[in-house]
């Protein structure tokens, strides 16, 4: 019962985003032991940002990007053309499935995609537009 009560208290503090000592102190009932109240508040305050970050990190989300890698190849020959020199890009994205669904064993899959120069240019155009929109939002 004690653990459950503590759990509820910390969850409430994290949920509400309480950051001040007075806010937390106010949560305790009137006749609560003074020193215990102060000690608990102090501990909660110390841990609050770590808990919030963890809650945010384990939110439900679409699969998340965890890593990316790339390499550029030159295609020199194929069954269609015996000699050519076409550069192409291989991009590997490491994607982690929804953390909330995987519990302690996150499933990371690697997706390797090939991009021609044209595709890359179009992609960069799109990414540039995202960047412009982001800075417009940030400057508001």
């Amino acid at each position: 019962q004690l653990v459950s009560a503590l759990h509820n208290l910390t969850r409430h503090v994290v949920y509400r985003g309480l950051t001040g000592a007075e806010d937390i102190l106010r949560l305790f009932p009137e006749n609560f032991h003074q020193n215990l109240k102060n000690l608990l508040t102090k501990i909660i305050l110390e841990n609050i940002s770590a808990w919030r970050n963890e809650a945010q990190a384990s939110q439900i989300s679409l699969p998340r990007l965890v890593d990316m890698d790339w390499r550029v190849d030159i295609k020199t020959s194929s069954d269609g053309i015996v000699r050519m020199a076409v550069p192409t890009c291989l991009l590997q994205l490491k994607i982690q499935e929804d953390a909330a669904l995987c519990g302690n064993n996150p499933v990371v899959s690697a997706l390797t995609v090939e991009l021609s120069k044209e595709t890359l240019d179009t992609m960069l155009e799109g990414l540039g537009r995202i960047r412009d929109q982001l800075s417009a939002v940030a400057n508001k």
Partner: protein
Amino acid sequence: VSSQQFSALTEVLFRFLTEPKEVERFLTQLTDFATMNKISLGPLKNIVKSILLVPNGALKRNLSSEQVRADFIALGLSEEKASYFAEQWKVNSPTLTRLAVGQTLMINQLIDMEWKFGVTAGSSELEKVGSIFLQLKLVVKKGSQLENVYVELTLPQFYSFLHEMERVKTSLESFS
């Protein structure tokens, strides 16, 4: 076959080569040519088939127009017609090469990319959040099927992704 008819036929052939998907149109034009010039369609088709072998082989081996001309003369075509064909070849070869390269094998080709970004307002754990997320939908061609891949990125991840992609572009450009 007179030189006029030959140039008309060559035109039809090259139009087909540059747009290999227009098979029906090619066949219609061949039939028209046959009726216009009072040649029967069967032998015409055979001749066209053997003529088409030359540009296809030339494309594969990156032959110059000189070599194409020599090939045709070796096959028994008159010098005038062979030169005409070689000229057409020179004009059309960049397009044809580009087409052939475009058909080269590509693994998991990226076809399309869509995105949206927004703000996470709240969640079951945190009442007010306010963090920005970016969601990408990548359309990838696996074999003959299209697969959608959904990924979420944080802002710092997005910026380093953009930075890496710009490095790739520089690298690709230095090799072209």
